[in-house]
Symmetry: C2
Subunit: 100 residues, 2 copies
């Protein structure tokens, strides 16, 4: 499953909304989040789209629980396939002026 290419991952992380999602997941520290737990000023449809992109890039995985879609970071796989990437995102997260 982890034959995702670097351009795909970079592409997935080139959108501010998706970066924000990843930042939120980093802050959640392993805990899975439902889609609408991530504060974003976009419609449901667009939100769903962004999560799909992240899923296809192997950055997150999603487990359906009832009516919710619990999403978390694929930390282990990412660290193996792209070592340093999560740390890079975490550093950026600390600088993110929109975080609470």
């Amino acid at each position: 499953m982890e034959e995702v290419e670097l351009p795909t991952v970079m592409q997935a992380l080139s959108d501010p909304c998706r970066i924000a999602i990843v930042h939120e997941l980093l802050r959640a520290d392993g805990r899975a989040l439902a889609c609408n737990e991530v504060p974003l000023d976009i419609s449901k449809a667009t939100r769903s789209h962004h999560f799909e992109i992240l899923r296809e890039a192997g950055i997150v995985f999603t487990k359906v629980e009832g009516t919710k879609c619990m999403t978390s970071l694929r930390t282990v796989e990412l660290n193996k396939r792209f070592p340093g990437l999560l740390r890079l995102l975490a550093i950026d997260s600390e600088k993110d002026p929109s975080r609470k």
Copy 2:
């Protein structure tokens, strides 16, 4: 000059051609390369475009020497602003099946 945002850098690195350029610069190990020293199956115009994107993202810088444009990686600045990014690209470079 280094107030480049992460999405910009990610966007710049989301194209296979541009990844190839960076790989070539990594292989050059600090030595600056002219645009057409990087083997790519694209036109001059497109090539020029890709170098511009990399420049605007703060990933490379270019020094005009005669008729040539010598380009090299902004190693120091990148390591400071996005630590781990170059290593990530270097790891990917080793896996690149198109490298000689």
